[in-house]
Amino acid sequence: MEKVDYSKYAVVMKGITKRFPGVLANDHVDLFVKKGEIHAIVGENGAGKTTLMSQLYGLIRPDEGKIYINGVEKQIRNPNDAIEAKIGMVHQHFMLVDRLSVVENIVLGQEPVKGPFFDLGRARKEIRELSKKFGLLVDPDAIIEDLPVGMQQRVEIIKVLYRGAEILILDEPTAVLTPQETNELFEILKNLQKQGRTIILITHKLNEVMAITESVTVMRLGKVTGVVKTAETNPNQLANMMVGREVLLTVEKEKAHPGEEILQVKNLVVKENRGIEAVKGLSLSVKKGEIVGIAGVAGNGQTELTEAITGLRRVESGKIIFKGEDITNYSPKRRREMGMGHIPEDRLKHGLIKLFPVYYNFILGEHDNSKFSDGIFLKIEEIKRFSEELVKRFDVRPPKIDLLGMNLSGGNQQKVIVAREIAFNPMLMVVSQPTRGLDVGAIEFIHKTLISMRDKGIGILLVSMELEEIFSLSDRILAIYEGRIMGETTPDKTTPEEVGLMMAGHKLEDIRQEA
């Protein structure tokens, strides 16, 4: 075996293997990260990137393999060991205590004390110094739940720096950011790099990889499928390594033939859970046979918008008109009966009942349809027959209808939801994040299904955080920012940059005027 000098490397992970019940999450993974570089780990969802980093950070322990930090073998049994080894991690889902202040979150676990008491003054001072040094401005006394996502991410980064981290792991840091915020983040990262920090970036966005990293480790299905220098590769090659075949970057589709307007939203105002307005006087319309894509960064009112349209959230003011009827105050049930389908953003929260068998999940929302019940009793035989049919038609695996929802894979769960929503012949489909967390095969399937629905004349409102998805599916694109539509365009008349600017709060007119 080749002898490698580990001391050049900030991080070496050697032969890391981690098994979860039924899954081999990491299969003898090797990772070499040089001191002072920005190193990307790319791969599809489920490739094992986060699992690998969680082991580096001590959140879970490897079944096999060794970890060397700066050439020295380290036992990292828990985050404390990681922090001691000067490793810090910014998680994809922020690890912030939302009711505590910024200061309290940052110093948590390493609190400065004065006698028996927690020294808030000193903590505040230290944080001010840190944020000045790295250009990460944030109000130390703000309560986390009141801060926007971008700010929260800064808190996360300061948190890591406060612990003196030399090695920073960032897990999908741009997922919740606008392109502009992303650029700011990259500036910060480069600045950190200049000050001698090593950065490991988990992502699946190849343009980001190309933009700021020095080297890349590609993972697929728990294994490393390639290690390359960024300068010596290109997105297509990386994509190939990621998915193991040529990827279809665009979806094949005919030109749309929109019909009459089926959904109109007028001056809609909706509040989010904490009582703050999340949708602020938004208007839009969807015609039969077209896909209207809503582009936006997470947390700009998309969730509230779709929930209001489907009846899951109260409307403060404004109108929702469906098939010419004002449905603003209709129950979700009534909307369903009128022909509104909904593929929800969070399939485990809204779309599926994990503890119900598949055949019960197939009738969710239609259980009192006369096809499945006589008003009191369920027609179990009929429900099962219907479910068998759908399982076959949508190729749900394993094809067992009495399996519990929780025992299906994410892709198959999504298939169940899509199948169910299509099966009731909706006229409008509100689709939110339909491919989040799915593998390429499933994504392709869902995309094709959506296109074929459109071609059958169904109106589709598509909300997605993936700009690529919006571009490849939509007939019209609307960009949303802080609960307002910033502009409308079509994929062939715009660029991702332009939409990105809208997503960051610039009005389309203003952008085009400036240009």
Binding site: R336, H342, I353, L355, G365, H367, L378
Partner: protein
């Protein structure tokens, strides 16, 4: 149904283990205080099954326990912890006793259903308060039902010491009309086997069907498993929380009613006893399954019935409460038992 599969079901094993472990712990306690557990358990068994009276008594005790067990279990199905069955028993019993005193002029086929409906409505309404507070005011049902238990007790005490008191100054209601009383199947000595057991058996079937076969059951379960998805599916959470509490309360109210129409013939003293709390034990042991609940109710009633005989053998009655506490504890922390089993399996493999 595949019986073998049913018996090997993890939940069933957890219940059985919990009961077993608690009996073993109780046996150790008995040894510590110098009593022979074999003698005590033999007495327990004899007290529960040794005589005709014991068996009848056992069935009579199990009848309301099946109902409170179903009540708590149905609540659990909807994701609700109805710790207030006691209060619902009381209100149901009071109302049925009141109606029972009014229906003397009617034939039994009218008065009996009237009284039963009154009792169920009473329990249902009382529970629905907690349901409404949960669904529309966000108040946790554990707190509200505990509070409602106290309020119900005070109401009952007030009523049977005042406006609804039988002559003679004893805190009990007047006797209900003869036509509203359930007939006995048989009597051995002073112990009578009343037809109320059929009410409980019927309730098992009805609840089983509701849970497994009806849209109500579908909706209630959906709300219990995942309220967000239920709402997404057009199922009203608020309505179903109130409905589930009301059904749960109706069962508890029915338990109270059976005591009025089949045992005492009136509202009488601390009629609810510990039925409500026992219902929790029973629902947990029965794993919220109607048939499991029926079996668990018989288990608890056997322990309760037998414990009187155990007292005579010199073991304080409080031991039964300890046994129940341990069972609930172990079912709650079912991972303790799972861990023990896994450890054993590993040892066996090693």
């Amino acid at each position: 149904m595949n019986i073998k599969k049913y018996l090997l079901n993890e939940k069933v094993i957890i219940s059985l283990f919990s009961v077993l472990i608690s009996l073993v712990i109780a046996a150790i306690v008995m040894i510590v205080i110098g009593k022979n557990p074999l003698v005590a358990y033999a007495a327990l068994f004899y007290g529960a099954f040794g005589t005709k009276e014991a068996i009848i008594d056992n069935i009579m005790k199990a009848s309301p326990l099946i109902l409170t067990g179903l009540a708590v279990g149905f609540g659990f199905r909807a994701g609700l912890f109805n710790i207030g069955a006691n209060g619902q028993v009381i209100i149901g019993a009071l109302l049925s006793a009141y109606v029972g005193t009014l229906v003397g002029a009617y034939p039994f086929f009218l008065s009996i259903p009237l009284v039963m409906i009154a009792g169920m409505l009473g329990g249902a309404a009382w529970a629905a308060i907690a349901g409404w507070l949960k669904a529309y005011r966000g108040a946790h049902e554990v707190i509200t039902t505990i509070m409602l238990n106290y309020v119900a007790t005070f109401i009952a005490n007030y009523v049977v010491n005042g406006p609804f008191q039988a002559p003679g100054g004893v805190p009990k209601s007047p006797s209900i009309a003869y036509s509203a009383q359930f007939p006995n199947i048989m009597s051995v000595g002073a112990t009578s086997l009343s037809t109320i057991i059929f009410v409980s058996l019927a309730a098992i079937v009805v609840i089983y069907v509701i849970i497994q076969r009806t849209t109500i059951g579908y909706e209630v379960k959906a709300v219990g498993f995942n309220p967000y998805a239920a709402e997404y599916g057009g199922i009203s959470i608020g309505k179903n929380v109130v409905l589930a509490m009301a059904i749960s309360g109706a069962l508890a109210g029915l338990a109270g009613t059976t005591q009025v129409v089949g045992v005492y013939g009136r509202y009488f003293g601390a009629l609810s006893g510990s039925m409500g709390f026992d219902g929790i034990t029973i629902a947990l042991i029965g794993q919220n399954d109607p048939i499991g609940i029926a079996l668990a109710a018989f288990l608890i009633s056997s322990i309760r019935t037998g414990s009187n005989q155990m007292q005579i053998a010199g073991v304080p009655k409080d031991l039964v409460v300890i046994i129940q506490g341990i069972i609930i504890f172990l079912v709650a922390a079912n991972r303790i038992i799972k861990t023990i089993r896994i450890r054993k399996r590993k040892e066996a493999e090693a």
